[in-house]
Every structure is written in structure tokens, then in C-alpha cells.
């Protein structure tokens, strides 16, 4: 138990510290990378809670896909950090007040008084034979199959919306349509045979040598 606790505090500290770095870095790329660290330590915390499927999927989906695209975009952005910082200072008092309010409320409501170990004792550790992935799959596709399907529709809508809002067919680019390219026929599309009038035998060193050799 002791080692697990130690790991928990390590990863929790890393998660908190890197989350702090995410919002305090000036360089947006650094902020995104710190966010990656936050996700990884969050995944580690989940694995400590024996939710290895969720932990690994967090890394696979968020770190492996979502944050890569984030980085992709952020690297190409030209963010004017000075104006951002100016706004940051201007709204700091209000933001800080709201943050403090929320913090106080969380401590008061979500704190140990209502959600402590007396109300929610830690559940017994699952045995080694419990297959996390299998159990999750079973409950997702039986009890929660309706929400799962709805989430799928939600993703479909996101795709449709993203494509509608961003895809434009430009007419001024000289793009190539690979579909047309790959339909090219071997015969008429690739080569054209041209008839040319014969101008007598070609004379190269080889033909001359052959001509010399032949009588022998």
C-alpha cells in the first residue's frame, strides 16, 4: 500500500505542477506539451485505480491523437502573446475572484465533510481475474448501448459540421485528382504510337561492328 500511495502522490504532484505550467507558459507550444504531461500523469493515476483500460485509452486518444492535432495547429499559429497578456492582466481580478469562489465552494461542498472516506469507503481491490476491458465493454454495449450510439451520432454531427464549415473547393489550384490518375488505361492514355517515315538503318558503333563481324 505504501508504494502505491507514494506513486499516487508523485503522479498527482506532476499532474498539478504540469497543469500549472499549461496555463502559465508564454509559448503556446510549451503549454500544449505540458498538457501532454498532465494527461500522461492523469492516465497513470487511473491505472493506479485499476482502471487500466481508461488510462491507456486516455493516452491513446488524447495524447496520441487529439494533442498531436493541437500541436499541429498551435505550431502554425502566429499568436500575438503581448495582447493576450494584456487581457490576462485586465481580467485577472475578476478571474481570480471567481476562481477563489469556486475553490471555497469546492472545499466546502466537495471536501471531506461530504465526500470523505466515512461516506465513501474505498472499494475492495478487484482480483487479478477481473478483466477491466471486458467488463467495460459488457456494460457499454448492454446497459449503456443507447448513450453509446448517441455519442456515435454526436461524432457524426461533428464531422458533418467540420466539413461543412471548412471545406471549400478552390478552383484556382492545379491539384491532381489521384482517382482519375489511377484509372489511367495502359494503352491509349499512357503511350501514343507515332508513325514516322523510315530514314534508313541507324549507324552506331555496335551496328558497324556487327556489320563488320557478319561476313566471318
Amino acid at each position: 500500500m505504501g508504494f502505491e500511495k507514494f506513486l499516487f502522490y508523485c503522479f498527482a504532484a506532476i499532474a498539478l505542477a504540469s497543469a500549472g505550467m499549461v496555463i502559465s507558459r508564454r509559448n503556446p507550444v510549451h503549454a500544449v506539451l505540458w498538457m501532454v504531461v498532465t494527461f500522461v500523469s492523469g492516465a497513470a493515476l487511473w491505472i493506479l485505480l485499476e482502471a487500466e483500460f481508461l488510462g491507456i485509452v486516455l493516452i491513446l486518444v488524447y495524447v496520441g491523437a487529439v494533442m498531436v492535432l493541437f500541436l499541429f495547429v498551435v505550431m502554425m499559429l502566429d499568436v500575438d502573446i503581448a495582447t493576450l497578456r494584456a487581457c490576462f492582466i485586465r481580467y485577472l481580478p475578476l478571474g481570480a475572484a471567481v476562481a477563489l469562489l469556486m475553490l471555497g465552494e469546492i472545499v466546502w461542498i466537495v471536501g471531506p465533510a461530504n465526500f470523505g472516506l466515512t461516506h465513501f469507503p474505498s472499494p475492495p481491490a478487484a482480483g487479478l481475474d477481473v478483466n477491466n476491458t471486458h467488463d467495460l465493454g459488457m456494460s457499454l454495449y448492454t446497459t449503456y448501448v443507447y448513450p453509446v450510439e448517441l455519442a456515435a451520432v454526436l461524432l457524426l454531427v461533428a464531422i458533418v459540421a467540420a466539413i461543412r464549415l471548412t471545406m471549400r473547393r478552390r478552383t484556382d489550384t492545379k491539384t491532381i485528382d489521384p482517382a482519375v490518375q489511377s484509372r489511367v488505361k495502359k494503352g491509349p492514355d499512357r503511350i501514343r504510337i507515332v508513325k514516322m517515315a523510315s530514314v534508313g538503318p541507324l549507324e552506331t558503333p555496335e551496328t558497324l561492328a556487327e556489320a563488320k563481324d557478319e561476313p566471318r
Binding site: N114, F115, T143, L150, V157
Partner: protein, 478 residues
């Protein structure tokens, strides 16, 4: 538990809508630009099929399906039917507007149908999870629809505002849900209701959860003081989209508030009653006063929506079955009214011109007396003038409030309604007593005219004979 195909029965309307959306998505790929009208027809057929299916599977006992994720009761039947009818009307009004601006793309119908799907899911949700997913499905489709005219700067800005504030509202809602889940240990509304009834309002966590829920609902409804986005989005969105998001989603939002507060947290009625009362008074007050100052009619409708939301809250906070039924009646008729009023704006618009100022309504009577009469009916109804349905709605809500001894609330509401009547009647004055600013004739299709006729006369008819609809509403809250 093994899957039972009887589960599919209550969600047949949802399935029909989803299939239609998928069909439109695929068929659109193979349509030439001039044949895009096929999408429109397909979407309307889908809505009609869903409507018929709602009727077929509807009625009778309350049914739970999908392990308690879905509920089908009289309320869901009625609200689904209402949402489908209003959505179909808005699609009919939208078509000429979109066609004139080269926006008649298949995605419009796909997104609209998915929004309708989101509404249906919300209406028959029985867990926090389903409810939230339905809400997000609706909201995501609407964000995209608001930005649908992607070359319009105003539209993009409105979509961005809508998205940010919508996300904030969702966040607060989820925060409240997480607290309630923490205190009750369930996301299924029935189990939540039992747990809440046991604990009562002594549990701080529950009370805070309810507060966040109400704030989230306030954001989604656009109630004061969480209303900032409403006028901007109504103004910035393309008129058909403003029409769509101003009408049917209100029905779904009503379902959400009933499912959450009445079915899930009825035991905390005293807590959320006070919060709703504040929102209602502020909304009715600010909505009506601010609407007077608007010269843009879409903005005016935005503020008018805020004030109507206040009335819906009034009915709900009464906490009696009569109050719920009256709020439901109000919501359904309001959605119909909003669709019609925006519909007139799309009719007045033409290629290269958007009717969005009060001036544009001037002299409508001389240009087209029938539409003028319909618009006048709609405005009278919005103002609450008898014998239109708006009067009946307000009367029923106020009666419910007075019955629970909150006379002061009723007085405040009446006072601001009288102020509000000014700007609705000003529209009527423009229509009948001013000279037209343009001589361009109003050209509409027979379908639009028929839909508007049905819409306008329904407002009158329901006002004269409210008993049938009211009876259905009352049956939904036994």
C-alpha cells in the same frame, strides 16, 4: 442483460429521424445543384414518418426502455409531436430563403435533422447521461447551423459566441449533475428522485447541485441573467436558423427542465422554486423592456423570447400539476408562434435582401394582405391579446401562479406584459398603417403559403378552442 428488441419500440421516431439524416447525407452526394430540393422532400418525409410513428407507439402507460435510459410517457409523446410539427414548419419556411442564397445544401438538412434527433432524445431521456447527450447533439448541430453561411462574418461571430456560452452552460450543468450523482449515487432520474426524497434539502451537496443545474438550464434557455447570447445569436444567425433555434428547441428545453427538476428533484421544490422565481422575474422584466429599444426585428424577437421564457418558468415554479400543464401549453404554442413570426421574415426576404429591420414590415398589408393578417395574428398572440392562443397561455400560467398564492409574481408578470404589448402592437401598426418602403412584390410558393396559413390559423384556433391541447397537457401531468 440480453438485448430485447421491444426496447426499440419507444425510440422508433428517433430511429426514423436518424435514418433520414443518413439517407440525406448519402443522397446529397449524388444530387446535382438544381436537384437539391430532393433533400428537402426527404427531410419532410422523415419528419412525417417520425410524427406518425410517435402517434403509433404513443399513448398508454409510461414505458422505460434501454435499462432506464429512455422513457416514453404522455408528455414525451406530446412534446415530440410538437417538436416535429414545428421543425417541419421551419424547414418549409427556410427553403426559399436558402435557395436564393445558394445555401440549399444537404448539410443543412442533415444538421437540422440531427438537431431534431437531439430534441427527441432530450424529450424522452430518463438519465442524466441521455439527457446530456441529447442536449449536446442539439447544441452541436445548432452551432454549425448558426455558422452555416460561412462567408458571413456576423454568422461566424454569433456561432462562436453561442459555442463558448453553450459550452459554459453545459459545463455548469455537468458540474451540477456530478454533485447530484455524488449525493445520490445514480444517474437514473427515478433513483435520483427516491434518493433525494430520502435526504431532503438538508444535504448541502444536493442544494448546490440544484443551483448549478438551474444556472445551466438558465444558460440553455437564455433566461436573465444568462441571456447575453440570445439577441446576438438571433441577429447574427441566418434567418431560417434563428427561426429553427428559436422555436422547436424550446420544447426540448422544457422537457429537460421537467425531467431534471420535476421528475428528478421534486423533493427540492422549495429550493429551485426560489431560483426560478428570480430568473422568471428578471427575464420578463428585462426581456420586455429591452425589446422596446430594438430596431432590428430579429433582436427584438430575441428579447421577446427571453420574456416568454420567463413565463414558462412562472408556470413551472408554481409546482402544481396545473402549473406544469400550463407551462407545457405555453411552450408548445410559443414554439408555433416563434416559427410563424420568423417565417414571415423569411417570406419578406428575397435574393440579396434580408428582412430584419422593423421598417421592412411597413405596409405589409398593401403588399400581401393575407400574410399581413397572419403576422398580425402572431403578434397579437405574442402580446397576449384575446382571442389568440397567447392570451390563453398567459392566462393559464398566471392562474397557476395565483393558485399557489404567489400573487405578487403574477402582478409583476402582468405589468411587464403590458409594457411588452407596446412593441408587438407597434409591429401591427407598421403593417397596417404605414406606407411600404419598397414596391417589390412578395413572391412565395404555394407550400409556404399553406404552411403559414396553417400556422397563423392554428394560433387563432387554439386560442378559441384550447380545451383539446390543454387536455392533452393536463393528461401528461397526472
Amino acid at each position: 442483460m440480453p438485448f430485447n428488441s421491444a426496447n426499440l419500440l419507444p425510440i422508433l421516431p428517433e430511429i426514423a429521424i436518424l435514418i433520414t439524416a443518413a439517407v440525406v447525407l448519402v443522397v446529397d452526394l449524388y444530387l446535382k445543384e438544381k436537384d437539391k430540393g430532393v433533400n428537402h422532400v426527404l427531410a419532410l418525409i422523415g419528419l412525417l414518418v417520425a410524427f406518425v410513428l410517435t402517434g403509433l407507439v404513443g399513448g398508454g402507460e409510461r414505458v422505460l426502455a434501454f435499462d432506464g435510459n429512455v422513457v416514453r410517457d404522455l408528455m414525451s409523446d406530446l412534446l415530440k409531436a410538437g417538436a416535429l410539427i414545428v421543425s417541419a414548419l421551419t424547414l418549409v419556411y427556410a427553403r426559399p430563403w436558402l435557395k436564393d442564397r445558394n445555401l440549399l445544401a444537404g448539410e443543412f438538412y442533415v444538421l437540422s435533422l440531427c438537431a431534431v434527433l437531439g430534441m427527441l432524445v432530450m424529450i424522452s431521456a430518463n438519465t442524466f447521461l441521455t439527457l446530456y447527450l441529447g442536449l449536446e447533439l442539439l447544441a452541436l448541430s445548432l452551432y454549425a447551423l448558426v455558422a452555416f453561411d460561412r462567408d458571413s462574418k456576423l454568422g461566424s461571430e454569433a456561432a462562436m459566441k453561442y459555442f463558448v456560452l453553450g459550452a459554459l452552460g453545459s459545463g455548469l450543468l455537468l458540474y451540477g449533475i456530478s454533485m447530484i450523482y455524488g449525493a445520490t449515487g445514480s444517474i437514473e432520474l427515478g433513483a435520483v428522485a427516491r434518493a433525494v426524497a430520502e435526504q431532503g434539502s438538508g444535504n448541502k451537496v444536493l442544494v448546490f447541485g440544484v443551483a448549478f443545474l438551474v444556472i445551466g438550464i438558465g444558460f440553455k434557455f437564455g433566461a436573465v441573467p444568462f441571456h447575453m447570447w440570445v439577441p446576438d445569436i438571433y441577429e447574427g444567425a441566418p434567418t431560417p436558423v434563428a427561426m429553427f433555434l428559436g422555436s422547436a428547441p424550446k420544447i426540448a428545453a422544457f422537457a429537460m427542465i421537467v425531467r431534471l427538476l420535476v421528475e428528478g428533484l421534486n423533493a427540492l421544490h422549495t429550493d429551485w422554486q426560489g431560483m426560478l422565481a428570480i430568473l422568471a422575474v428578471l427575464s420578463i422584466g428585462l426581456g420586455n423592456v429591452a425589446a422596446i429599444a430594438q430596431s432590428n426585428i430579429k433582436r427584438m424577437f430575441g428579447y421577446s423570447t427571453i420574456s416568454h421564457v420567463g413565463f414558462i418558468f412562472l408556470g413551472l415554479l408554481a409546482g402544481s400539476t396545473q402549473g406544469y400543464a400550463s407551462a407545457m401549453f405555453y411552450t408548445l404554442t410559443y414554439a408555433l408562434m416563434a416559427a410563424g413570426a420568423f417565417g414571415i421574415l423569411t417570406i419578406l426576404s428575397r435574393e440579396g435582401f434580408d428582412a430584419q429591420n422593423l421598417e421592412d414590415l411597413k405596409g405589409l398589408n398593401e403588399r400581401d394582405p393575407w400574410y399581413a393578417a397572419m403576422m398580425a395574428l402572431l403578434m397579437f398572440s405574442a402580446a397576449g391579446v384575446p382571442p389568440t392562443v397567447g392570451f390563453m397561455g398567459k392566462l393559464l400560467v398566471l392562474e397557476a401562479v395565483v393558485r399557489v398564492d404567489m400573487v405578487w409574481l403574477a402582478l409583476v408578470a402582468v405589468f411587464f406584459s403590458i409594457i411588452g404589448a407596446f412593441y408587438y402592437l407597434r409591429v401591427v401598426k407598421f403593417i397596417y398603417f404605414d406606407q411600404p418602403t419598397t414596391a417589390v412584390p412578395i413572391v412565395t410558393t404555394g407550400g409556404v403559403r399553406a404552411a403559414m396559413t396553417v400556422n397563423g390559423l392554428a394560433i387563432l384556433f387554439l386560442g378559441l378552442f384550447p380545451a383539446a391541447l390543454l387536455g392533452l397537457c393536463q393528461a401528461a401531468f397526472p
